[in-house]
Amino acid sequence: MSQVATSRRRVGFIAGFLVLPLALYLTFVIWPYVQTFGYSFTNWSGQSPTFGFVGLDNYTALMKDEVFLGALWHNLLLLLFVPALTILLALFFAFMVNVGGRSGAGGVRGVRGSAFYKIVYFFPQVLSLAILAVLFGAVYRSDEGGLLNGFLIRLGLVDPAHPVEWLNEPDLVLWCLLLVVVWHGVGFYLVLFSAAMQSIPKDIYEAALLDGAGRAQTFVKVTLPLLWDSVQTSAVYLGIAAMDMFVLVSTMTSGQFGGGPDHHSEVMATVLMRNFLYFGKSGYACAMGVVMLVLTMILSLVTLRATRRERIEF
């Protein structure tokens, strides 16, 4: 009898604890995700309650949409360069900070002031993308007032009469944005890799040292394989960030929701937002959302697959 009462009370407890989180999550996350798939097959404008079913029309139109395809290409470029640059720099610095100060018989240690470097490097991580957008908007200003132009003019590398139009130069704009992402991310991944490096037993390094391994060799043969899991995770995270890019592009570049000059910095997210909020093509925008989802999933799977290696236990 009391057994039944207890189990009934337990069911009530479980349900009571789950009902609110589940309800919120279903309403604001899952249901909109599901709806997106549905809307992507319609010509819904977003304004009127009526819309027609158009099958795959939105998707075939996407394949012919030059702006969207250009944006897709930019996302793929970022996808390649953002993780590669960020991870390489972070690994390099992490190795310096943690193993760089090593010396002969004294064992392996980080450089002096490694704590200081970690504090400084990590800081951009707590800044919002909106702050980054304003900050780098000012750094990349296309007159003498921009930090970058100011320096280059002072060094005599740039003619003061014709400063570099960083964010208005079709060939430069995407790379300028890329550097902001790298600037923002390196410190975080440095700390992430440092944490992983510190869990590597010191005697492994000392053994490598005794065997006469140089610094580069130690890094490639010892550190990197043992860090592989974190590198892999980082690649996926950075890849997802590179698929997004909305905040920086929409706020730092010209055009409605950014993307300028002449679509040279366009990414999928900005095209989506413009179609949704500006052109009133909600169904079409939903189709872009679905494409982004599929690409993100493929990306995660490919990254995890391609970088799969045998796990090293220590």
């Binding site: 337990r10 069911v11 604890f17 789950l18 989180p21 589940l22 999550y25 604001f28 996350v29 909109p32 995700y33 977003g46 390099f92 610095f93 900070v97 760089g100 100060g101 090593r102 010396s103 002969g104 018989a105 004294g106 064992g107 470097y117 970690k118 504090i119 400084v120 490097y121 990590f122 991580q125 800044l127 919002s128 909106a130 702050i131 304003v134 900050l135 908007g137 750094v139 200003r141 007159d143 003498e144 007032g145 921009g146 930090l147 100011g150 320096f151 975080f188 944490a195 995770t233 997802i240 905040v247 997210a269 949704f276 909020l277 909600s282 925008a285 872009m288 959302g289 982004m292 989802l293």
Partner: protein, 309 residues
């Protein structure tokens, strides 16, 4: 530079070196170590400067005049007045700040509470459909927010919660759920069952055990996810920029800080009052600097563990 100074361990190790051959080798290695140290430090220092310089330059800019900013990037401010800060405050930075705070005062505790509740039940009570609900929660972390944006807007609109604090709070909580549940789930699993059993024998109810025993024990996990959520929600831009727009002329402006800064940037582009923009950003950065410097250890550890889990 301090790099040339020998570390104590280094010197001691050298002294302890025995035979001639070993000493020679030690000497060799030592100079090698020093060269490497200089090498490491120069690279590290360059990056440190690249981080600090733009921020410092921007903060200096809030003391300059507009023509001074436009004229040359590298000048030192001619006056040290705070009027740009006052003007930035008048432009609404203070209100945007307050709006962000109001939303987060509700959204962060609610995220932590609801996320922990769901995670706890899923981690420690086997029942039919447990795994299914767990994966259901966690799968949300895989999808880009953009995928949901269009229907989400209309969902919130239908609930008549566009441009309202409570609407944004609920959306923030919902979107923070996947990660919070995922992290807290693995945390609750590691807690010992013995404590739980002891509490049951003492006659505590399930709810009481959760609030008085398990939740306090999960404090380290809560701090990690808490930092993750605070930073994530504080820096959120896309959700508020879609959901927190005045819907009519009479609607109050409830921009959050991130939105407000971007709006200020656009305004100042026309009005050419850059010191105000720089001051606005400085106002937004300074609390982050203070919080970061006070808690940098916890923030670094929290974000790192939250990401690696």
């Amino acid at each position: 530079m301090t790099t040339v100074i020998k570390a104590p361990g280094e010197a001691a190790a050298e002294r302890s070196g025995g035979g001639g051959r070993r000493t020679g080798e030690g000497q060799n290695r030592r100079s090698d170590g020093m060269a490497l140290n200089v090498f490491s430090h120069s690279f590290l220092a360059v990056w440190a400067i690249l981080i600090v310089l733009p921020l410092f330059w921007l903060m200096l800019g809030s003391f300059k005049t507009d023509s001074q900013i436009g004229g040359s990037a590298l000048g030192w401010p001619s006056n040290w007045h705070l009027d740009a800060f006052a003007r930035a405050w008048d432009k609404g930075i203070g209100d945007y700040f307050a709006n962000t705070m109001i939303v987060m005062v509700f959204s962060v505790p609610l995220t932590m509470l609801l996320g922990s509740m769901a995670a706890y039940v899923l981690a420690r009570y086997p029942f039919r459909g447990n795994r299914l609900i767990y994966y259901f929660f966690v799968s949300g972390a895989m999808f880009p927010v953009f995928l949901a944006l269009v229907p989400l807007f209309f969902m919130v609109k239908r609930l008549d919660m566009l441009n309202s604090y409570q609407g944004l709070v609920l959306v923030y909580v919902a979107y923070s759920m996947p990660f919070t549940v995922f992290f807290m789930h693995s945390f609750f699993r590691t807690l010992p069952t013995a404590v739980h059993e002891a509490a049951v024998i003492d006659g505590a109810s399930d709810t009481r055990i959760f609030f008085q025993v398990m939740l306090p024990m999960a404090k380290p996990g809560l701090i990690s996810v808490g930092i993750f959520n605070v930073l994530g929600q504080w820096n959120q831009y896309i959700l508020p920029s879609v959901l927190m727009q005045p819907q009519s002329g009479s609607d109050p402006e409830r921009y959050l800080l991130t939105q407000g800064l971007i709006q200020l940037q656009q305004q100042m582009g026309y009005e050419t009052d850059l010191p105000v923009l720089f001051a606005g950003v400085t106002i937004a950065i300074i609390p982050m600097v203070v919080v970061y410097l006070s808690f940098q250890r916890q923030i670094q550890a929290g974000l790192t563990s939250a990401t690696l889990k």
